[in-house]
């Protein structure tokens, strides 16, 4: 996989993961063009399109588009499964994930992605293992942080308080 983009139906970027070295300018250009192309697709069209010299696999979940650019020798159908697996991980972590979760907790969305994929490939094919690792790492944040100067309780959904 060369990169993965998450964006809303209005074309607002919610997550960008790049596995190839590109300048900020190039990334912006690619993002703009690809978002435009994908948003122009009609619902009846298939999830794959050729774009420049890459294959693009995209799928819409509620108000978010998940878009991956893969190389010619990669399997498009299994990429759909990769995307689905990531959505399942987010769903399990956030409890019925929605776009707002990803907006307000974007850094966690990245942490989960980085625990699932490394260099564009799946590290672990077990949902349980990935979620367990995230959980443990979150606890590590909890243990290691300095005690807060002011006590502040966030919503009950979050079991650990994040100093962010």
């Amino acid at each position: 996989m060369q990169f993965m983009l998450l964006f809303s139906r209005q074309g607002k970027l919610r997550l960008q993961k790049w596995y190839v070295p590109l300048s900020d300018k190039e990334k912006k250009k690619i993002t703009r063009e690809l978002v435009q192309t994908v948003l122009a697709r009609k619902p009846k069209m298939c999830s794959f399109l050729e774009w420049r010299d890459l294959k693009v696999v995209y799928k819409r979940y509620a108000s978010l588009y998940f878009c991956c650019a893969i190389e010619n020798q990669d399997n498009e159908l299994i990429t759909l499964e990769i995307i689905h697996r990531y959505v399942e991980l987010l769903d399990k972590y956030f409890g019925s994930v929605c776009e707002l979760d990803i907006i307000f907790n974007f850094e966690k969305a990245y942490f989960i992605l980085d625990e699932f994929l490394l260099g564009g490939e799946a590290q672990d094919t077990s949902k349980k293992n990935v979620l367990k690792a995230i959980e443990q790492a979150d606890l590590l944040q909890e243990c290691r942080r300095e005690p807060p100067l002011t006590v502040c309780f966030l919503s009950a959904q979050l079991t650990t308080e994040k100093p962010l």
């Binding site: 490394l118 672990d124 944040q141």
Partner: protein, 749 residues
């Protein structure tokens, strides 16, 4: 100093902005606060500030001033700091900036950290964006971790190693010992990433490929276990056990089995098993089947297995899921050359896909349909493809039209069918037809001697309906110019002949000349046609009048063609070049015919004298094979002193005095070799010939010979030149002489 605003608070605030300007203002304010916080070296809130910066970066705002802060976070002891720091590094830093190298030491330390999650962060970052220098420095650490018994780290190290190898291929050898026991792991994560690593190594190095071939039995065993084992909740996806691992193993098997009979045989059974036992109701099963098909087609599989694979693709074509249909068409396109007969069996399904709503599917179905056309199915296939041409999107029409022409040329069951098919394309998609089709079609029509009357009649009728589609108009004009006599005499056998007079024909052709819809090229064709009719029709006076009115157009077209000639390199064989050459060819005829109708003086007046660049036709004693063949018979009727073939063109171009460049091109079907250009000038001139570009003038306008001439003319006299051309054509030596007298003044002044 109040604590900096929290991340989620900032996000909430920014989202309340109603305009872009409002948002920008909020962002600028916050960035200023963050900047001063950074300046104060605040450790407590650095993490929070960088996180906010990352959010603003995602919105599209610059965040480079946070780069060094990320490095400080990475160096911190706090896990939260490291997590955000590494995330920031992956988002804000890139290998083009030297600052990224400062990370190297931190990563090295973290790779040896006591906490595996910190090690994990380091491996992830290195494997995602490590530069070649970083990879070189840290490869040793990665290799160490590849040998650890901790599967959490081992799986990450394997993928990190993949990245290292991609960046610095020479380091591949170093990872070889660590790969020894990778496949004996039970942990699926390690297995999956190991297979990815092995795949990368085998793809990059033939030696590695040979070395790892011995793993085939082990891979087959693992795959078998996955299929045969019962339900495993941890790795199950819709009833299939670890599809991700299955797909990767199949891909590695493909690489190992390619061009190796033994390996291919060893995997034969398991491939057949996967192909027949995998559940196809969900996407995940089809993903595995797809990979299996790709593997079967790529290795040295036995024919039974190949047929099985193609049949799977055939079933995919009938699947309701358009994604599945798409991959089926893509795969069939790859195999249609090698397994043509097997793919033919699915022809009707493929043709049905032409009606699909998805553009990519339609395109593939079209390409595949053309690949499947043969002598047996041409009539049926062409019907479907012409129907498709009528109704498809404009983006397809050019390719479809070209495909139809090619297929018709190869497999036409009869000449009449062929002409009818061409007519259909020209009339329904005439404006999308490629420029280079026009000369090809003209050639085709020329060769179908018995169909001339029918063709010209149909084309004339098409012109009456519509003159907007340029390729149609050009071909029609040409035909009328050639066979106008047949049209007027009403000689058609194939269908009811129409009654049309010479004047009506000339009306139509003149209409093309004046129409706004006609391009300059089209005007050229119609003017040429009118000229040619001067030898077939009796209304010569009318034609003369036309030429004197439109003579200046002739001139424009001539210089246009030369411009095109000089701006495109000689070996450019694209459509512009061929059509301009053919077009110039038309103009040479024009030139000739004009010279027949008028005296030399009148001619010069007509054509404006000074700007004319003369072109020399050379004599060839043999009969030419080019499209000009038929035309020359026309000239023969006028009893010229020598037969000209118009097969070798010699043109002169002048970029600046005293440099003249000659270009020689050849429209016959054989190369002209040992080509030598010699020139002689009057005594008052001095001539210098530089080396020619080559001494072969390639056939069919596929290139040209150019040669630069320098002419010194101290007495500023009118340049005259005697030219001698010697070359070998189809084995016979040929010599041509010609004299050129009307060089334009700028070439010798």
């Amino acid at each position: 100093m109040p604590a900096p605003i929290r991340l989620r608070e900032l996000i909430r605030t920014i989202r309340t902005a109603r305009t872009q300007a409002e948002e920008r203002e909020m962002i600028q304010k916050e960035c200023a606060a963050i900047r001063s916080s950074f300046r104060e070296e605040d450790n407590t809130y650095r993490c929070r500030n960088v996180a906010k910066l990352l959010y603003m970066h995602m919105l599209g705002y610059p965040a480079h001033f946070g780069q060094l802060e990320c490095l400080k976070l990475i160096a911190s002891q706090k896990f939260t700091d490291k997590r955000i720091g590494y995330l920031g590094a992956m988002l804000l830093l890139d290998e083009r900036q030297d600052v990224h190298l400062l990370m190297t030491n931190c990563i090295k330390n973290d790779l040896n950290h006591s906490t595996q999650y910190v090690q994990g962060l380091a491996l992830c970052t290195l494997g995602c964006m490590g530069s070649s220098e970083m990879c070189r420095d840290l490869a040793g650490e990665v290799e160490k971790l590849l040998k650890t018994s901790n599967s959490y780290l081992r799986k990450k190290a394997a993928l990190c190693a993949v990245h290292v190898i991609r960046k610095v291929p020479e380091l591949m050898e170093m990872f070889l010992p660590a790969t020894k026991n990778l496949l004996s792991e039970k942990n699926h994560g390690v297995l999956h990433t190991s297979v990815v690593l092995l795949t990368e190594m085998c793809e990059r190095s033939p030696d590695m490929l040979l070395h790892f071939r011995k793993l085939v039995p082990q891979l087959v065993r693992i795959l078998k276990n996955l299929i045969m084992s019962g339900y495993s909740p941890e790795h199950d996806v819709s009833g299939i056990s670890d599809p991700f691992l299955q797909v990767r193993i199949l891909r590695l098997l493909r690489i190992l089995g390619r061009s190796d009979d033994d390996s291919s045989e060893a995997m034969n059974d398991i491939l057949a098993q996967v192909a027949t036992n995998t559940e196809t109701s969900k996407n995940v099963g089809n993903a595995i089947l797809y990979e299996t098909v790709l593997t079967i087609m790529d290795i040295k599989s036995e024919s039974g297995l190949r047929v099985l694979a193609i049949n799977i693709l055939g079933r995919f074509l009938l699947n309701n899921d358009k994604n599945i249909r798409y991959v089926a068409l893509t795969s069939l396109l790859k195999t249609v050359q090698t397994d043509h007969n097997a793919v033919q069996r699915h022809r009707s399904t493929i043709v049905d896909c032409l009606k699909d709503l998805d553009v990519s599917i339609k395109r593939r179905a079209m390409e595949l349909s053309f690949a499947l056309v043969n002598g047996n199915n041409i009539r049926g296939m062409m019907k479907e493809l012409l129907y498709f041409l009528d109704s498809c999107d404009p983006e397809f029409k050019a390719d479809c039209a070209s495909g139809v022409f090619l297929a018709a040329e190869k497999y036409a069951p009869s000449k009449r069918w062929h002409i009818d098919t061409i007519m259909r394309v020209l009339t329904t998609a005439g404006s999308y037809v490629r420029d280079d089709s026009v000369p090809n079609l003209i050639q085709l029509i020329t060769n179908s001697v018995e169909m001339h009357a029918y063709t010209v009649q149909r084309l004339y009728k098409a012109l009456l309906d519509d003159i907007s589609q340029q390729p149609l108009v050009q071909v029609s004009s040409w035909c009328i110019g050639e066979y106008g006599d047949l049209l007027v005499s009403g000689q058609c056998e194939e269908e009811e002949p129409i009654q049309v007079t010479e004047d009506e024909v000339l009306d139509v052709l003149e209409g093309l000349l004046v129409s706004n819809l006609s391009t300059p090229v089209t005007r050229g064709y119609s003017l040429t046609a009118i000229m040619k009719l001067s030898t077939r029709f009796s209304s010569v006076n009318r034609i003369k009048k036309v030429v004197s009115i439109y003579g200046s157009i002739c001139l424009q077209m001539y210089s246009y063609s030369l411009q095109v000639q000089s701006t495109h390199p000689p070996c450019f064989t694209g459509s512009i070049y061929t059509s301009s050459l053919f077009y110039r060819f038309n103009l040479h005829v024009l030139y000739y015919l004009v010279s027949l109708l008028f005296q030399a003086n009148d001619l010069l007046d007509l054509l404006g004298g000074n700007d004319v660049v003369p072109v020399i036709q050379t004599t060839l004693p043999t009969k030419p094979a080019s499209a000009g063949g038929e035309l020359l018979d026309l000239l023969g009727d006028l009893s010229l002193s020598s037969r000209t073939s118009l097969s070798l063109f010699l043109s002169f171009s002048f970029s600046h005095s005293p440099v003249i460049t000659i270009h020689a091109t050849n429209t016959t079907e054989a190369d002209m070799t040992e080509f030598v250009f010699q020139a002689a000038v009057p005594k008052t001139f001095q001539l210098q010939l530089l080396s020619p570009s080559s001494n072969i003038v390639p056939a069919l306008n596929q290139g040209s010979v150019t040669q630069v001439i320098r002419v010194l003319n101290p007495q500023k006299q009118q340049l005259r030149m005697r030219v001698k051309l010697t070359y070998t054509h189809k084995g016979s030596p040929i010599q041509d002489l010609a004299e050129v007298n009307n060089f334009p003044p700028q070439s010798w002044q």
